[in-house]
């Protein structure tokens, strides 16, 4: 890789040599642009989109620019650590910019340059990929971004989240970090990724960090996850979400016909809990095709109710509108 942007970095920090260096380079790029750099959401999620910094902050009128790494769990994708490309736990770097800047494509391309992808020799393409999340009640239009035929990111203009129109629209970028790192490091197997950029005895690979976890969680997800407990957890999370949503509604101060919500975030946690439990049950193969749809709808109902609650909070623009 011809890195020009990172010449000042020590070898072990360079994005083409180190997984963590790649993450840091992207975080630094987006921090320079003006994003708040957040840390991961402390719940199990299937994608960075589920972080409230995206799923909820995309709603409402307030500007919002954030970037963060999100560990993502997809129980069904586990392969006991035997597949060089598939993981049940991996990292996404998520960027959410509201409203979407007019030069978002340019910004994205410059971020690739920042991690050492030379745009003069690599073929970057925007290939149609409309995004829809049935559980979040969300959709958007955009692309998968290809680098020399490999999908390295997803690029989406959110149109609707939790059943509500996005006004204004956010632009969302999701970098598949392992894939991107494999590409820039020139590695064929994800477990061979150099994690810390060191060589010899001090080198730590992705496999050193995660191979055992992939094996253990695959066993758990496919064979041993306690389905009775999970079914109970689903019901409990669903009930708790509804309870917090109901308890959170209050009349807005000074406006008799308006309401505000005081517990949108805790309620959303439970919605996400239900969503992940559903994914685990699905991976265990204990949900039939017809039931599957009804579980998805149940989670979506929660997500929609959470979105509605969020819009009645300050972060969702309730105070913003009151002051206006």
């Amino acid at each position: 890789m011809n890195s020009t942007a990172n010449d000042d970095l020590p070898q072990h920090m360079r994005p083409e040599r180190s997984f963590q260096g790649l993450i840091l380079a992207l975080q630094r790029y987006w921090a320079d642009w003006g994003c708040v750099i957040l840390q991961p959401y402390d719940m199990e999620v299937g994608a960075g989109t589920f972080h409230p910094a995206t799923a909820l902050r995309a709603l409402g009128p307030k500007p919002w620019n954030a970037a963060y790494v999100q560990p993502s769990r997809r129980p069904k994708d586990g392969r006991y650590g035997e597949n060089p490309n598939r993981l049940q736990h991996y990292y996404q770097l998520q960027v959410i910019l509201k409203p979407s800047p007019d030069d978002l494509q340019e910004l994205y391309l410059k971020s690739l340059d920042a991690i050492g992808i030379d745009l003069k020799i690599h073929d970057i393409r925007f290939v149609e990929d409309d995004w829809e999340s049935p559980t979040l009640g969300a959709w958007g239009l955009g692309w998968e971004c290809w680098c020399d035929g490999m999908e390295v990111s997803q690029f989406t203009y959110f149109q609707q989240v939790a059943g509500f129109e996005c006004a204004p629209v956010s632009g969302e970028l999701t970098y598949g970090l392992e894939r991107l790192a494999m590409y820039v490091q020139g590695v064929e197997n994800v477990f061979d990724l150099n994690f810390n950029g060191r060589e010899g005895a001090r080198k730590v690979t992705y496999g050193d960090v995660f191979l055992q976890a992939e094996q253990e969680y695959s066993r758990h997800n496919f064979e041993f996850a306690d389905t009775d407990m999970l079914f109970a957890q689903f019901r409990m999370a669903e009930a708790a979400c509804r309870k917090y949503l109901e308890a959170g509604w209050q009349p807005a101060p000074g406006a008799s016909n308006r309401r505000r919500h005081l517990m949108a975030l805790p309620a959303y946690d439970q919605c996400i809990k239900a969503s992940h439990v559903f994914n685990l049950l699905d991976a265990r193969g204990v949900i039939s095709v017809t039931e599957r749809q009804s579980y998805i709808l149940r989670v979506r109902d929660l997500a929609k109710a959470c979105g509605e609650a969020w819009l009645a909070t300050e972060g969702g623009g309730e105070a913003h509108e009151r002051d206006a």
Binding site: S100, P101, I121, V127, G149, C166, A167, P168, V169
Partner: protein, 758 residues
Amino acid sequence: MPDLLLELFSEEIPARMQARAAEDLRRLVTDRLIDAGLPYEGARAFVTPRRLALAVHGVPARQADRREEKKGPRVGAPESAIAGFLQAAGLKSISDAKVQADKRGDFYVAVIEKPGRPAIEVIGEILPDVIKGFPWPKSMRWGAQSKESGALTWVRPLHSIVATFGPETEETDIVPCSVDGIVAGNVTRGHRFLAPAPFTVRRFDDYVRKLDQAKVVLDAGRRRDIILTEAKHLAFAQGLELVEDEGLLAEVAGLVEWPVVLMGSFDAGFLQIPEEMIRAAIRNNQKCFVLRKSVPSPLVGEGREGGGEATRVPRRPDVTSRPPRPTPPHKGEGSRLVDKFILVSNLEAEDGGKAIIAGNERVIRARLSDAKFFYDTDLKTRLEDRLPKFKDIVFHEKLGSQWQRIERIERLAAELAPRIGADVARAKRAARLCKADLLTEAVGEFPELQGTMGKYYAQAQGEDEAVAHAIEDHYKPKGPDDLVPSDPVSVAVALADKLDMLVGFWAVGEKPTGSKDPYALRRAALGVIRMVLDNRLRLHLIPIFAAHRRVITRLDPAIRAAESHGHAEKMDHRVKPGDDEREIGDLLAFFADRLKVQLREQGARHDLVDAVFALAGQDDLFLIVRRVEALGKFLDTQDGKNLLAGYTRATSIIRIEEKRDDRDYAGGPAPKLYAQDEEKALAQAIGDAKAAAARAVAAEDFAAAMRAMARLRPFVDAFFDKVTVNVEDGALRENRLKLLNEIRAATRAVADFSRIEG
């Protein structure tokens, strides 16, 4: 006359929407020009991933002036009428109106002159309308303005608009217009990476030229030609043949503004995977082309297979002027897939494409590794061992599980097999295994390989070849262009698969309506028809439908629960026989409609199809078509014209009398009431014709049956010449009408002639 150039520059337009969008832009703008009184000489639309463009040639500089005369009240009309006229016509005083005379006296006329407006102004109003209302299949909002209701929507963010208007040789003007803050101008940009700098354009010819310099091939057809030509050239240089793929070619031409064709390779070890799977992995995910090699070709030589070597062909500006090259080796029995692929990039890379090839090779290696893993994993499980899982998979909530469906298909295939010359055991075996590959990893990844993978897995586990092929072929024909299975075992399973769908969905009331046909039942019925006709199968559909309907309603617990009201064990009594018969008739009518469409496409007259279907119990599709063909040929002969004329003469009178008397005249006439020789002669002739026709029909010689009927003509004519039907004597009249009705009845041995037009 001036030309219009329009370019709508946006973020990447999905490839599948591009052609339609170009056509819509052309149509919408030119329709509005015509409506505005601005006829044009020609218009062409273009599209690339980032721009929609339109060139309209020969637009008048101005609309024509219009002069309108408005007739007003008579001279001397009341003041209020004059005032109303002045207001309506926009005149200040009545002295501005002309006075004209007609035969009743003088009246006022207002002459309103509407000068034509400059075309550029009118276009400035048209363009924003067209852009705002553009019919994208899916469009979106973006940016800060998206919080306003009524914000512009486009397929992806729209960045700039070029709109110039002016004569062919001089400077052009910018069309004054803007859409949601985007002001039309004369500045555009070239290729995203190769020539991103903005530049100005005046009109279409310099636009195309400058774009070409800025590494953008505007015309999708030209991009397609470049890709195809260069891909073939690269393949040929290595003694290979491109596996052409129109759909992929069109898609790839929509993904690049500056196509650069490159060749990469993969590990030859992957060639153990079935070819279809390699192709699916390379095509679907990577949008690359695969290559073949003729095995015994003298042109082919091994060697110099440098993987990762940049082998880009230098671009030539005019792809059509290349010298002809020798024909590449032919695809055929002796050709096989090779470890090479063609990719189309959008970049003239500084390293000649080395990195791009290496990157694509890496992804294809990963894809093929996945494919190989799926294939190897699948081979570890025998197809029949997968079947129990189908018990848990719902085929349709009212039609039970996939397991039940497979059992029904097996049963029906076994029923059909002996009638179409297929070995029953093989047909049953194939039916039992035909869906098993749906549970394999390979089909999970590449759904379009259903059936195909089943064939490979069946061969690998040592199934009979006919069984293996039936597993692949039972989905066929998938469309009007697909091949129709001909091996009897394949035909038995393919028929059973489709008939189970049709009878099943009919049994639970899920029939296609209008444009809604979610289970593709029309295609299934057409598939049955084509298999029957192409293989000259003789099947009576009604008893097959009836028997299978009974199988379905008995097997299916959902139907049982829904309809039994607690009498589950007596389920055969639940569905009223009348319902069954009506539904089966309805399904047959559905086949008739499909057959009509099919025959009409082949040029047959739809009324002849109706005339045959109107006969009772017509459920042998092959025979029906034979009848229709015979009828068509026969009606063109003198005999045919005679028969139709005699039939029409006899039946028109009965129809009138039946209507008047509000009864029918069916039932045999009484010979003792025949009063004239002509009656007896006609009765005798009808008897002879009937007998002859019956013999001919039994021998399936429809032409002979019709010739027999045609011999009635002179007897009908003689009857009408000499015999009065509507006589005072009621019994005599009735008998004569009944006699005429015998003609109608007799002709129904071959067709219902009342359905035949003219």
